[in-house]
Amino acid sequence: MNAIDPSLGKSAAKLVSGNHACALGAVAAGCRFFAGYPITPSSEIAERLSRRLPEVGGVFVQMEDEIAAMAAVIGASMGGVKAMTATSGPGFSLKQENIGYAAGAEIPCVIVNVMRGGPSTGMPTRPSQADLMQARWGSHGDYPIIALTPGSVGEIYSEAIRAFDLAERFRTPVVLLYDQVIAQLSETVALDAAARVSATRTWASGPRESYKPYATGSDAIPAMARPGDGYRVHTTGLTHSETGFPTQQPEAVTRNLERLFTKLEKHRDEIDSVEALHCDDADVLIVAIGISARAAIRAVEQCREQGLRVGLFRPITFWPFPDKQLRAAAAKAKAVLVPEMNTGQLQFVVERTLGRAVDTIHLFSGEAITPADIAARAAALAKGA
């Protein structure tokens, strides 16, 4: 049921929107279950998949609310099927408790959050980049998570596929986080998924007696028992021991939570992804994501044409944050500029990572930051450097 979509040819190229690319990437990655609830500006993903999934043997269901959609996705994944939901700000808030369940019980799933202006109902049709912290810390308690921040329509396609690969490989929820601008922007995308091999979670095998659902193996990723395969395990949101049954025994609780973090930290080389553009000699380093990074690329080009040494560092995997890569990229920079569509969430992470103050452009008016805005600030910083 999780095979790669064979109907997508090797060299297919298509003019699609970001949300359409997301749906295509998900199906290409083997997603065969989607549960959702209508919300602007993500609804096109649900609409596309409601047509496409039944064609490839999958299931689409529109649930009664955002919470139910997240729950149904986790339920489908517990049954062994690759599953995804898509939402935006208010819906992302509502899904958080169940995202924490998926993190704690280690159920692979993909959550798309198309960022719109907030707080509360905010600006449904206007972009923002203000859910970076919520993606990391949105559910209660301590847990690790993976969040990806693609910067173009083509990258939404490839990162949607990678989101499933990471979710399956590491048995974790993965958040695909992009803003309303690229969600509804149309670009030509190379649909090259047929050349890839999609990851699938490791299924339990061997005798039932010796199988432990949350055993701490050498790679810290437990093999999952598929219902029907004879293991008959218990899955719970309570803290649990290696057996899967609830425990509050301090050593068992500590060991399991440590493993959740180790599971990702140990494999950072497989998880991390960044783009470094002209960082080697940059006097001014711009750090940006999504549509702001798109604008920053143009700004870097304009500055370079003027002979100004400006570079761009762009996290594609945003959580866990690529701190080592950023420190390396910023080692020689005299100034760091963070343009972002919120009041300082990326700035907070960058300053903490680099241990120094940075310059910022914070735009939270529902408009996108323009290349000219970034170029002007970067040029001024470069000339003063």
Binding site: V59, M78, G79, A83, P227, G237
Partner: protein, 279 residues
């Protein structure tokens, strides 16, 4: 006439022995309901490997851990939503939800009405003990009027929810209610629910002796169960009972049974037609 040994039913075949002793209070009706469920599964010869139990939070939610099956103890109020995803993704599994009155009617009320309306093949077993027992005895949507709980020190002033009437109004294909006093009857009702091709809602009137009973001086467990027995009116006798004398009697037995199309099969049929046709 209803003797376990005649059916060769041994409850131990369906329990996880490593989880015993269970944590239910002395006198709690939930254990009786669990036994009836396991007995029904035995009668229907449902394979444990193909059985998925999804439960929410609360005393009822804890029962899934005791059953030797594929068990999922999920978030508060959401077991029906999790089960919907699981049953749609895996139509080969037999999916049963175990939930309580708070889990199913308060925090999870929205999921119940839409599960009834959608009519996906699921069995929802709601154990109604009139109280939030796990958290210490707060008022629930099914607490009877004037009863004392830790959050209604003046007596409950909200009318109690009739879960079966709600499920019926929302369109459930199968609705039934039974008390723990009649275990074989309860088993037969659960069996009928499990055999129903669509969504089945089964309410079990359970008793919380330790917390709710103690708070309201309702006596020991047998006394509470006997009181429940006197409060019911089997559906089969609905026409013969002189209802004006017992206006509050709760109807029991199979209350609704219809054969409207099951959601999962209808979806798969439409999808097969689409996949076979032009895109």
């Amino acid at each position: 006439m209803f003797i376990d040994t005649a059916a060769e039913f041994d409850v131990r075949d369906y329990l996880r022995k490593e989880m015993m002793p269970h944590f239910l209070c002395p006198g709690c009706g939930h254990g009786i309901a669990l036994r009836a469920l396991l007995w029904a599964l035995h009668d229907l010869k449902i394979e444990k490997d193909k059985l998925a139990i999804v439960s929410g939070i609360g005393c009822a939610g804890r029962l899934s851990a005791y059953i030797d099956a594929n068990t999922f103890h999920v978030t508060h109020g959401r077991p029906l939503a999790y089960a919907t995803g699981l049953a749609l993704a895996r139509p080969d599994l037999h999916v049963i939800v175990i939930t309580g009155d708070g889990d199913c009617l308060a925090i999870g009320g929205n999921h119940l009405i839409h599960a009834c309306r959608r009519n996906l093949k699921l069995t929802c077993l709601m154990l109604n003990n009139e109280v939030y027992g796990m958290t210490g005895g707060q008022v629930s949507p099914t607490t009877s009027e004037s009863m004392l709980t830790t959050t209604t020190p003046l007596g409950n002033r909200e009318p109690h929810f009739d879960a079966c009437a709600l499920a019926t109004a929302a369109g459930a294909g199968f609705v039934g209610r039974e008390v723990t006093h009649h275990v074989p009857k309860l088993k037969e009702l659960i069996k009928a629910g499990l055999e129903h091709p669509g969504f089945a809602f089964v309410e079990v009137l359970s008793d919380c002796t330790e917390i709710f009973g103690r708070k309201n001086d309702l006596g020991s467990s047998p006394e509470m169960v006997m009181r429940q027995k006197s409060d019911i009116r089997p559906a089969a006798y609905a026409d013969t009972v002189d209802t004006p004398f017992r206006p509050n009697a709760m109807p029991t037995g199979v209350l609704v049974r219809n054969d409207r199309p099951e959601y999962g099969a209808a979806y798969r049929k439409a999808a097969a037609a689409l996949a076979g046709g032009a895109r």
